[in-house]
Symmetry: C2
Subunit: 315 residues, 2 copies
């Protein structure tokens, strides 16, 4: 098997976001009903283990290792039956992901269950392992929440490495869902100010780009305009795609764009607690967490941070 470059880091805005790099080759066209079992038999197969929003990490001082061999996890309540085949290392070693039912408060000393947001914020794993973590967390989560056939209600069976479920009752095939979400930085026509908002559930003083799910029947640009107008009252003109990011909370594709605002009068709806215009100087300070008002912006791995940074650096 030749090494394939499919997910090699490529110099583009998307590859600078968290979870965007993945060293594994998926070989998606080779998946079969026995892919997972075959992979688990490989001498050097390894698994990521995920729980509710967390990943299990073996740690030694400050070094964190997400990869477990099947033989070392006997007391971690691993769901091998529904393990996911993520792909293959350059040396053809298979890497998988599975659920661990272990009590996160009763783990051996050398294992911690760390929430996935903290893993990326604190750089606990190299970038090219984060992509596989996102892939695994999304697929484990989708399989766990879709154990029944939506067409007829019968329990469904996992197959093809976790990338398909089939219903033995009605024959329906179900594929993992990836939810497209637009996230956008609107900028005034004079280029001087950008629009950021915060929801009631946000950490205190944090402002971010507006965002929302793409609905059926929309283009990306129309979703950007609709969500912005619904949440803030601002009417947008030109929308420009900037970058995308896999966001495993639980299985989203963030689609980031810049947009030109045609109006400036903000009218917020119930979703936002606040929404306002910020100058470049404001956001420069917010990115550095040095704004005198205590305002700040999402961590640097988040696509919102990249949208904001790209605009600040445009000057």
């Amino acid at each position: 098997m030749t090494t394939r470059l499919a997910d090699a880091p490529h110099p583009e805005p998307s590859s600078e976001t968290a979870f965007s790099q993945n060293r594994l080759t998926r070989l998606s066209e080779k998946r079969s009903p026995t892919s997972t079992q075959d992979a688990l038999k490989h001498d050097h197969a390894h698994l990521y283990l995920v729980t509710e929003g967390r990943v299990l990490l073996k740690h030694d001082e400050e070094v964190f290792d997400p990869l477990f061999s099947p033989s070392e996890v006997y007391d971690l309540a691993v769901g091998f039956d529904e393990a996911i085949l993520l792909g293959f290392e350059a040396d053809e070693t298979p890497v998988l992901a599975a659920w661990s039912g272990a009590d996160k408060d009763a783990l051996p000393d050398y294992i911690k269950a760390i929430d996935i947001r903290s893993v990326y914020i604190q750089d606990l794993l190299p970038p090219d392992r984060l992509g596989a973590l996102a892939q695994g967390a999304a697929l484990v989560s989708w399989n766990r929440t879709h154990k029944f056939c939506a067409r007829c209600g019968h329990p469904s069976d996992i197959t093809d490495g976790g990338y398909k479920r089939v219903c033995p009752n009605c024959g329906a095939m179900h594929f993992p869902r990836t939810d497209p979400v637009v996230i956008m930085l609107a900028v005034t026509e004079d280029g001087e100010r950008c629009l950021l908002g915060r929801g009631p559930q946000f950490p205190e003083h944090m402002y971010s780009c507006l965002a929302g799910f793409v609905e059926p029947g929309e283009t990306i640009e129309n979703a950007v305009r609709r969500e912005t107008e619904e949440e803030s009252g601002i009417v947008l003109g030109k929308v420009s795609y900037h970058a995308s990011q896999p966001w495993p909370f639980p299985h989203t594709l963030m689609i980031g764009a810049h947009a030109v605002a045609k109006t400036t009068e903000i009218r917020i709806d119930d979703e936002l607690e606040d929404c306002r215009w910020f100058t470049r100087e404001d956001v420069r300070l917010m990115l550095a967490k040095e704004h005198p008002e205590g305002w700040w912006t999402p961590p640097s791995g988040a696509i919102a941070s990249h949208l904001i940074q790209a605009w600040v650096e445009e000057d």
Copy 2:
């Protein structure tokens, strides 16, 4: 209610694709459990009626009308219980969509059930009605194929105008799915040739851009590279987003990109029947259906056609 511009046609590549324009305002933030029933009570409410891949059109000579009033559909087996609220016209008239169980071969003379592909290919409806048709077809289809809770198997209930289903047994909420699919035109580094392929199920002699579903844990660009490499063996470098299109077969978001090919040796997998490089002159003739080999490209409303055309016109 002020007229809102959320889906107004905006001069960008996406708005030139079929299904991208929608004159309705969704008011998504106003949806509630009674949205559909309230809308149906409106004096001038109208519905799109869809069946398996088709839409019912009233026709008078060459003029086609997709909008039915609730009172004129008594013999069309309309599923009012699961009707979808699409949005509102500028005069606040609600527009909905619903399933019709009518036998397409036993319809009154003035009604035809036309497959949705033909509707856009033959321009049977104005562009700003096609977007609502895509929206309605996607939502009706999703609701029909997701009547059971995937978490526990119990029948689920439609709510919020068709944009949510809730399970009365376990409380799970289910939202319509929109599947992101990348579709890409790879071009050689010298800019002289583009890559097109055909699957066994394609109409004879038709070639199109390569495409595939975005998988969990991928950026758009990485999905473009992976799918291209898996299907054709071609390794891509830079990927540039061009346009997106809602594609109601059944509920997909097409994400179109151009890409630079770093290799030229094609190796096809099982999915493609053929895949080859075409010159600009080739595709100019194919777009006009004048190629001496009889090769042609998808209809002009399809995003593949737009990707190809944009490259041809770049010269």
